[in-house]
């Protein structure tokens, strides 16, 4: 049962970077399974390898060794085009610095990932508007990122991640640039998406964010140090 429910399955994943003549081992054999509709935080101090893990999970890079089953496909050996396809179809990225295109409107930003699919522009727009509605920005479609607050920008980024209906939402310090009130709002939005069945994986070094998640996977020095599932701490108590 648990097996079939797994969205992400890492087996012995390691990653070595070549820096000059020396190899730097960022991940030293990670086994990790994330199931459908889990809300997972990946934590760890700087240099623990959590960014590397995040890049592998997001198919931005491939492991040096090991197996990565994403939705029952072994993507560890995929070539660049296949990875691009997986990123477009299965992964919704949310970045700390939002990474919106400044010259494009909110709507165009949200449509962006759909441009890499064959789809009519009407359908693209329909999906983008529905994603923007989900994050509560239905009234800002024609604004530009510079006209929005940090929280609103991150909502646009989440809408952009959701518009492709990905299997997992992958947040890299999604609240790192936000104040505590906005952080609260964004986390509430993640909660809401999680309740609607979305699998959410957040990489963070903030303990209160990690505490908010169902499960905390902690990395230290490229190894899995702990993997704790717990009752979720309600955000209100954490404040």
């Amino acid at each position: 049962m648990r097996q079939s429910n797994a969205i992400i399955e890492l087996k012995g994943v390691s990653k070595t970077y070549q820096i000059g003549d020396e190899g730097y081992v960022a991940l030293k054999g990670i086994d990790l399974t994330i199931n459908h509709n889990e809300f997972v935080a990946i934590t760890g101090p700087s240099g623990s390898g959590k960014s590397t893990l995040m890049n592998i999970l997001g198919c931005l890079s491939t492991p040096t060794n090991g197996e990565y089953q994403l939705n029952n496909q072994n993507v560890a050996n995929y070539d660049e085009d296949q990875l691009a396809h997986v990123r477009n179809h299965s992964i919704g990225f949310i970045f700390q610095s939002f990474n919106l295109l400044p010259r494009q409107s909110v709507l165009q930003n949200v449509i962006h990932p759909l441009k890499y699919r064959s789809m009519s522009s009407v359908e693209r727009k329909r999906r983008a508007l529905s994603a923007l509605d989900k994050v509560g920005l239905g009234d800002k479609v024609n604004s530009f990122p510079s006209q929005l607050s940090g929280g609103q920008r991150q909502r646009v980024a989440i809408a952009r991640a959701l518009v492709t209906e990905p299997e997992i939402l992958l947040g890299d310090e999604p609240t790192g640039n936000l104040d505590s009130k906005t952080t609260q709002e964004i986390m509430a939005l993640f909660d809401q998406l999680h309740e609607q069945g979305q699998t959410v994986v957040l990489v963070t070094h903030e303990q209160d964010i990690a505490d908010h998640c169902q499960r905390e996977v902690r990395l230290v020095d490229g190894l899995l140090a702990s993997d704790v599932s717990k009752e979720r701490v309600s955000w209100g108590l954490a404040c």
Binding site: L60, S61, D81, H89, F93, P113, K115, Y116, R160
Partner: protein
Amino acid sequence: MLNRIFHSAYEGSVAAIESIFAHSFRSALTTLGIIIGVASVITVVSIMEGLSQGVGNQLKDLGSDMVTIKAHTNTELEMLGVTNQLTYDDYLLIKSKVLGIKDIAAKMRAFSFGSEARFGQYSTHTQVIGTESDYQNVVNIFPVEGRFLSNTDDAKRRRVVFVGSSVLKKLNLPSHPVGEFILLGEEWFKVIGIAETRGSLFGFDQDNYIIAPFSTIRSLNGTDRTNNIDIVFRPEVGVDLALLNDRIRSLLRKKYRLTEPEQDFFEFETAERTRKQFSDITDSITYVAAGVVGISLIVGGIGIMNIMLVSVTERTKEIGIAKSLGATSRIILTQFLVEASVLALFGGVVGILLGYLLAGVVFMFMPVIGSLTVPAWAIWLALGFSGIIGVVFGIAPAIKASKLDPIDALRYE
């Protein structure tokens, strides 16, 4: 597969055009090299085209069916000191034996008395030729006043002249000069007629000549130096000119018993040939100009490459975002390639318009006959070439962009 390629081409193009308009000022500056290059091609080509068109029209006025037979000496013989000649006997032979000639005249340059003509205190240099009355029918010159040479003038070796309108002006002859005497060398000639003005051709004055009877000039020239003449004729309507020329050629060759390896000592000059010679000149000017312009297009291409490389660096983050959202390398490659090509093509289009404008200005200030035409091939060539420049110089930046690692690109600030 084809669908995917088409899709990435489409998405790449849309992104490219968006990006060009986002940096419209920079795009305009970038493409300036191409604009200047293409504008110069179009200007040069249209001027050359207009010029040869104008010349073509003028040659048509001259009578495109007039033929001149001239003595011709090849360089080899010339170095041996031999000069071939056409003689009056040759002329008589052709006149009597060849059918299909409407009008024919012998023509001889006067050289016994320099080229100076005098009237009172005025003098000018001009071309003095001796010819027969039929000459006016061959060349189509007609008097505006007085008359042309007659057969009697020739038979009696009269010292009379028919004068081109430029000579009239330069010698400051009275407004009705018929009956006045002018001095050629040391000989007095009576003016019997004034020719219609023909204007200038290739910048040469077509009215600076004096015509005297053939026999007069021949006797003044004497026989000690040369008997060489030119023969001008006009074929009858409907006669195949090439065939006629062949007939004349074999007649002359037979007369002098020329056998096969020996070359003709004469040549035929037709208006068609003159036009071809002229178009050879304009063509070679066009080619030289095209070469120069080609260099400027390449410089323009390097400008585009430079800006595209800057643009790739500048948009590294954007490329990273696009890749993280699922853009394949091919889409990124297409985007930058299309961007470079569209820039170059845009330059091409603006260049064509600018070139057209420049040519128009030149045509306004240059008294060339002929209308402003930009041939279609020049437009297609300019567009094609700028498109190719865009692709050739866009490929390096595009590859650079497409090869960016998404993680590094996302981290780029």
